[in-house]
């Protein structure tokens, strides 16, 4: 099916010490396919993964490039450790592009088999530039050294149908299906700015195609704008040492030690094998951290209805292996099998729902005031197959619902949809509209930043209120943690380079509960170390979860238990064992900082990496409304007394809210100063030439951007 538009033959490069040394470039405008050499310079400065992505992206775009400019690229890379089978979480693909939501580089990552199979097909990285005229599919056959671009007008769009069809088409037989992986989006991606990428893997026990998502920042929207329906890779013959590691024995030893920890401790710790990341939903509610009704509060009595036990006992299949790449014994990719859909174009069909993950239950559940597991699973399914980032969707709809409840918008604007908290069928209908490119759903797909403008300018909403309650920074919607009472996490979100995603830092317990980082300097140190450390996973192709969703039983005896020192050492050992290098844990941070600072300068170059771009909405910092203040009255009154020397008994509620706000906004300013200093930035948030020199990143291309802004 589909006419072949272009065929390209190549000799798959042999992988040595984790690198194939080659990257693949495809230009869809003129159907050009080229091979590039991965240089020693790239390895030294950027390591791999997200580092390679950002390097290629920088060279492809100009400051004027926007997400839908032909020269914008989708770049993906798996990193030097990607694809090893002996440690958990080694199949992550890192993807970068200029985001339709933020206009700056976005990076997002996914499990699934695509990245490792791409590398074993001979490619350390894969750049796609230009736009096709009609819908196409790109197929990479790593065994035979063949790349095909073919017409794909006839293929369906929604991922659960498309990926299943392509997997069957490209596999020779049932046993061969595990050797095929598909990247696709869905029907809503081209109608919204929050389209995601689904990365598939075949589950031989369930005999179905499963998905992990590179969800954030609108990558699926860009994929569809380039008229790509799917990327398909096929590689048969996974063996233990395709990376040709320098020292396989060490990898084996470290891997077996880790697998044994999972076996012995997971059922006592986070139960990742039973429920995955959604294990924390009740805990988050109990600690006042579960975003509820657009981040107004941190939990709700009704949360018991969507507690982990409910999903474990009633919805999620137990006892089957649920890893998204070989060798992952954390196996957190849970799913609900034979789930009966009740709405939309697939109503009446039974499907496998991948998830729910924590962000799904928190976002599509509590944050929308929906405490119904079945509705959450249905929303989860449709977000994925339609190609919608459920975090951006959930946070956007939470904002819309609050606007509706506060009568900033009404049924006249929403086409009659009663978008009140708790209305699951309205949320589902909104999704279906997004998929069809119709009605209010199409508008919602623009994301919060653009909606604020429309609601104010066209619907007459209160601009100040919308600025306070629209949970976005830099144009990207917040991930699902309520964090008003943790100053460090306010920075963790709003100071994150690509926008408020918690993959840079999650400091809430250290800060708010443990009180381990009381001073601005302490918080700044944490906001240096953790973002740097966590960047590293994206450079080498690893998943972050195996780092700290299980910890050794003697972790508490270590001097810095939050860092999980034994696991950090595992990573150092595995990196050295694969690449043959000799790094230590400080070198690991240096590798990260090179790419971290590069990405910040890249954002500056694109016009959005300065202090003005690092401010959160007030909802992130403190109580916007009277109800929010009253929900934690005792705490807030105490803070007015203790920190500001005020007597709350003598103040009106409005005065108290205003005084608390002034205090908290000032605290945030001081935090920014401290973090900028620690990261080697000017007080305007620009990396200094001195800092770039110290870490070996005083490249002329970077200095040219930062020097005029010193």
């Amino acid at each position: 099916m589909g006419t072949i538009l272009k065929e390209y033959k190549y000799t798959p490069a042999k992988i040595v010490h984790g690198y194939s040394g080659k990257s693949l470039y495809i230009n869809l405008s003129d159907l050009r396919i080229e091979e590039k050499v991965v240089t020693e310079f790239m390895k030294e400065k950027f390591t791999g993964g997200k580092g390679f992505d950002l390097w290629y992206l920088w060279n492809a775009v100009t400051p004027e490039t926007r997400w839908n400019s032909p020269e914008n690229e989708i770049v993906m890379s798996v990193g030097p450790l990607g694809g090893i089978t002996q440690y958990s979480g080694t199949g992550k693909t890192l993807v970068a592009s200029i985001s339709p939501l933020t206009d700056i580089p976005i990076d997002s990552n996914a499990g699934g088999y695509f990245g490792p199979l791409l590398k074993f097909s001979g490619w350390d990285a894969f750049e796609i530039q230009g736009k096709a005229e009609k819908d196409i599919i790109i197929f990479i056959d790593g065994n035979n050294g063949l790349i095909e671009i073919k017409e794909a007008e006839e293929y369906p769009e929604d991922s659960h149908v498309l990926a299943e069809q392509l997997t069957r088409e490209y596999a020779e037989d049932e046993d061969d299906m595990v050797n095929v992986s598909v990247v696709s989006s869905g029907s809503a991606a081209k109608h919204s700015l929050m389209g995601l990428l689904n990365f598939s893997f075949y589950d031989p026990r369930r005999k179905t195609v499963r998905f992990k998502q590179a969800a954030r920042g609108g990558l699926g929207t860009i994929l569809r704008d380039k008229k790509i329906k799917a990327l398909v890779v096929k590689y048969k013959g996974i063996t233990p040492n395709l990376n040709n590691a320098a020292d396989l024995a060490t990898i084996n030893k470290v891997g077996v030690k880790y697998h044994k920890q999972m076996h012995d401790l997971d059922s006592k710790q986070n139960k990742m094998r039973q429920i995955g990341t959604a294990n924390t939903v009740m805990i988050m509610s109990q600690y006042d951290l579960l975003p509820t009704r657009n981040f107004q509060t941190g939990g709700d009595p009704e949360v018991v209805k969507i507690a982990p036990e409910v999903f474990i006992n009633e919805w999620l299949t137990q006892g089957l292996h649920d890893g998204c790449w070989y060798g992952c014994t954390m196996a957190c990719a849970k799913c609900a099998d034979h789930f009966l859909l009740t709405s939309g174009p697939y109503a009446g069909e039974r499907v496998t729902v991948d998830g729910p993950e924590y962000e799904c239950v928190a976002g599509l559940g509590a944050n929308l005031g929906i405490f119904d597991p079945q509705a959450i699973l249905e929303e989860n399914f449709y977000c994925d197959t339609y190609g919608i980032d459920l975090i951006s969707y959930a946070t956007t709809v939470a904002f819309i619902m609050e606007c509706y409840e506060r009568e900033q918008i009404g049924p006249d604007h929403t086409g009659g949809l009663e978008l009140r908290f708790g209305n699951a069928s309205a949320s589902l209908e909104l999704m279906h509209q997004m998929s069809r490119g119709e009605g209010f759903g199409k508008l919602a797909g623009l994301g919060i930043r653009k909606l604020k403008k429309i609601f104010v300018e066209e619907f007459g909403a209160d601009a100040d209120l919308l600025e306070d309650i629209g949970m976005e920074v830099k144009g990207l919607e917040y991930a699902e943690y309520a964090h008003k009472e943790s100053l460090a996490q306010q920075g963790g979100f709003a100071l994150a380079t690509k926008g408020p995603q918690h993959d840079e830092a999650w400091l809430i317990f250290m800060d708010m509960v443990n009180k381990q980082i009381p001073t601005f300097e302490d918080k700044a140190n944490a906001l240096y170390y953790f973002p740097m450390f966590r960047t590293w996973f994206g450079l080498v192709g690893l998943c972050k979860l195996p780092w700290n969703d299980i910890v050794p039983s003697d972790n508490y005896k270590t001097s810095e238990p939050a860092k999980v020192p034994e696991h950090v050492q595992n990573y150092v050992d595995i990196f050295n064992a694969v690449t043959g290098e000799d790094i230590d844990k400080d070198d690991l941070i240096l590798q990260s900082e090179r790419v971290y600072q590069f990405q910040r300068v890249f954002s500056v170059r694109m016009g959005k990496g300065e202090r003005k771009d690092d401010y959160p909405p007030y909802r992130s910092l403190g109580p916007v409304s009277a109800e929010e203040y009253l929900s934690r009255k005792e705490l807030y009154d105490k803070q007015l007394r203790d920190f500001q020397g005020l007597d709350p008994e003598k103040m009106s509620l409005d005065e108290k809210i205003a005084k608390l706000r002034a205090y908290r906004e000032d605290q945030y300013e001081q935090l920014m100063d401290a973090v900028y200093r620690r990261r080697g930035w000017t007080m305007n948030g620009i990396p200094t030439p001195e800092r770039l020199k110290e870490i070996g990143m005083d490249l002329p291309m970077l200095l040219e951007v930062v020097e005029p802004k010193q």
Binding site: T85, Q86, P240, N241, H259, K260, H263, Y326, G327, T329
Partner: protein, 132 residues
């Protein structure tokens, strides 16, 4: 179901079983290649070997472990990717690996060691129970 059994009272700790096992499958007398390990404790000898419990079947990340017609748990070498997850996950610590081997190895109740045992301490039993 076939399973290898060991009678402690008959075992002299001669290790002939280990040598027989590693010689048969890996052409070496190095005991780290044996799927049965005799452990000495105060002149008594305990054998570590697979009980064919099958806990590793569902956890295998490559769907490469299965129970054969005789109830013996086996590894499909064509499917195994050498992740060693089963090695860490075996509660009995009887899934073994060697750095120069692509896949782990385990006791398949083949009778080679019991034939080599001079005292009759080892025996492959066929139990009536098909599944545990």
């Amino acid at each position: 179901m076939k399973v290898l059994t060991h009678k402690q009272e008959l075992c002299t700790g001669c290790l002939d079983c280990e040598v027989a096992c590693s010689q048969t499958y890996f052409k070496t007398s190095d005991r780290t290649y044996s799927a049965i390990r005799i452990i000495e404790n105060n002149k008594t000898y305990r054998a570590r070997k697979c009980t064919q419990c099958g806990e590793c079947i569902n956890m295998c990340t490559a769907n490469a472990i299965y129970r054969d017609r005789n109830g013996v748990v086996r590894i499909d070498k064509k499917k195994c990717v050498g992740c060693l997850g089963c090695v860490g996950y075996c509660s009995e610590l009887v899934m073994f690996y060697a750095d120069d081997q692509e896949v782990p190895f385990k006791c398949i109740a083949c009778n080679v060691c019991s034939k080599a045992c001079p005292t009759g301490a080892l025996e492959v039993l066929v139990s009536q129970v098909k599944e545990i």
